[in-house]
């Protein structure tokens, strides 16, 4: 019997013949924290009796969730993290560098690696064929110390994608549709493994968007194969030598197979307060929005900002809508400036905020008022997520967010795209 991607990677990293259901100890190639989970992780690491990091050059601290710091408490946390990095020699990404998951994709992750972050959206790097998953602070503190952790090898769902996206339909619509099918706990403890001819046409940014939201169906990991598109992406990032081809075996065992012809997808929206509560955008026309937010580890990449800029070119945001743009990294911001997207968006009325998580988690830079509604390109719309349990959050693609920012209500973007 052949192996799934999860079984292959964890076989390699555990030195066992890993099969779904097995419990193994596997080495971890990259381990990281960010500024809202890092302080607890480091305190737990210090409580453990281990003197040093197993591998400082593979241990990373990102300061991205509250940047620049909105208050003294966060400033003190950032200082604490910075000091730990100086003491241990681990990698440290200062405020302004970007969202951890985008930086992992741009600078660190390679196919076949095991990556653990103290952040649930660590799954994003599955778009590059890495077994990447989120864990809590205790688990991550122990990986800091030992360079390894235990895993239960997940059973896998094969998600077979065929066809081509219609105009104004993108990876976000696909993953919202998939989560709607699976439910918010439909893949708990499982791996989602993507295959089919449509995958070989999906860019890395699109794969990262899909993998990013695997956790919203409860999955442990969302894995794409590593192919020529992966190779080209790594080469452009200066990591071409890290490329390895990685595919599941043709006779691998899957718990179930879900086939989706992406040609049939429409622009999709997740409604409050659950990511699996999805509907086509055109069925929600008339729902007024106060804020549109384009950014995050799900949809803050150059391609996303380009999509928004093309729709907003020569237009203005609706007077009742605040449009917030948060590039996912410094590189994304610089490229978007160079290509004129930022100028287009700012002229249309957008507010540009620094690379980072921004409004996504309700800390700052776009917290919602009572009874306000936000259309966001992020990955979560839980009650209270954007700082206020009395507010409503809808999730959609950058195209839908840009179109809705123009009209002031949830809008199917197809009429804005030629």
């Amino acid at each position: 019997m052949g192996k799934t991607l999860s079984e292959k990677i964890l076989t390699q990293k555990s030195g066992t013949d890993a099969r779904a259901g097995d419990i193994v100890i596997a080495t971890v190639d990259w381990v990281f924290v960010q500024d809202t989970t890092g302080t607890l992780t480091i305190r737990q690491f210090k409580e453990s009796k281990h003197a040093g990091l197993a591998s400082p050059q593979k241990t990373v601290i990102f300061v991205d969730h509250a940047v620049p710091s909105p208050n003294r408490q966060f400033s003190n946390d950032h200082h604490f993290l910075r000091q730990f990095a100086q003491e241990t020699g681990c990698l440290f990404f200062e405020p302004g560098s970007g969202v951890c998951h985008q930086l992992v994709a741009e600078k660190l992750a390679s196919p076949g690696e095991v990556i653990v972050g103290a952040d649930s959206h660590t799954v994003t790097a599955g778009g590059l064929g890495a077994f990447a998953t989120g864990m809590g602070s205790s688990d991550v503190a122990v990986i800091f110390a030992l360079g390894k952790t235990w895993f239960r090898i997940p059973e896998s769902f094969k998600i077979e994608l065929t066809g081509r996206f219609q105009k104004a339909v993108d990876a976000k619509d696909l993953v919202l549709h998939l989560i709607g099918m699976l439910g918010a706990d439909g893949a708990t403890y499982k791996a989602l493994e993507f295959s089919g001819d449509a995958v070989s046409r999906m860019t890395i940014p699109q794969r990262l968007t899909v993998a990013n939201m695997a956790v919203e169906a409860g999955a442990k990991v969302g894995l794409f194969p590593s192919d020529d598109i992966t190779r080209e992406y790594l080469r452009k990032q200066g990591r071409g030598k890290n490329y390895v081809a990685l595919y599941p075996d043709s006779d691998a065992a899957y718990e179930q197979t879900i086939a989706i012809d992406i040609s049939n997808l429409e622009p999709m929206v997740a409604m409050p307060h659950s990511v699996d509560n999805v509907a086509p955008a055109h069925t929600l026309t008339g729902i007024k929005i106060d804020q549109a937010f384009i950014g995050t580890c799900t949809n803050g990449r150059l391609e996303d900002i380009a999509t928004a800029a093309k729709i907003l070119e020569g237009k203005r945001c609706h007077p009742n809508v605040r449009l917030i743009i948060a590039p996912a990294s410094r590189k994304v911001l610089l490229d978007a400036i160079k290509l004129g997207y930022i100028e287009t968006l700012v002229k249309a009325g957008a507010i540009l905020v620094p690379p980072g998580c921004a409004a996504c988690l309700g800390v700052h830079q776009g917290a919602l008022g009572d009874s306000e509604t936000c259309l966001s390109t992020a990955n979560r719309n839980f009650k209270g997520r954007m700082g206020n349990p009395e507010a409503s959050i809808y999730l959609a693609s950058p195209a839908t967010a840009a179109a809705s920012a123009i009209t002031g209500e949830i809008t199917d973007p197809r009429r804005f795209v030629k």
Partner: protein, 168 residues
């Protein structure tokens, strides 16, 4: 684990209680001040919970408890509130590890049979849950051995401090 017989009141919650309900992101600036953070436990699901909960009580939830963020603070503040175990129909993956890593039992059972406010007794060794108010008896799903060993040491850090490594 020192105490294997748990007793307290049931505090019922519905399905899909996320980590944002348990420890809202807007309080992320308190994550280095756990006693302050703990004052907001479950706030976006039930703002009164923190004033009602007594040591030994249980959170009794529906399916997919703890979905969302990896913030272990969710498990930490529930434990700090005095809750002795979480009973749920199902639990999200990261939260499950986090709770066990904090030595906080998560017991999977048919929570529809338990009403809000019922007196509950849990025998962790026998694997039984008794609703002392209604007389209903339940069993809970087996916790995987690797996690049970961690839970029995009071959490992952005490476990690693004792054994120095993972013991499978």
């Amino acid at each position: 684990m020192s105490n294997t017989l748990l007793k307290g009141k049931a505090h019922k919650f519905g399905d899909n209680i996320s980590t944002d309900h348990i420890v809202p992101g807007k309080y992320a600036y308190l994550r280095s001040n756990l006693p302050e953070l703990a004052k907001h436990v479950m706030e976006d699901a039930d703002p009164e919970f923190v004033s009602r909960v007594q040591p030994g009580d249980f959170i009794v939830a529906g399916k997919n408890f703890g979905l969302g963020s990896s913030r272990e603070h969710a498990a930490v503040v529930i434990k700090m509130s005095g809750v002795s175990a979480i009973l749920a129909k199902s639990v999200a993956r990261i939260f499950f590890r986090n709770a066990i890593n904090q030595g906080l039992p998560v017991l999977i059972c048919d929570t529809d049979k338990i009403n809000d406010g019922d007196e509950i007794e849990v025998d962790l060794v026998a694997g039984t849950i008794t609703d002392l108010t209604s007389g209903v008896k339940l069993t809970f799903g087996k916790i995987p051995e690797v996690m049970l060993n961690i839970m029995n040491e009071g959490g992952l850090i005490p476990y690693i401090n004792k054994y120095g490594d993972f013991k499978l």
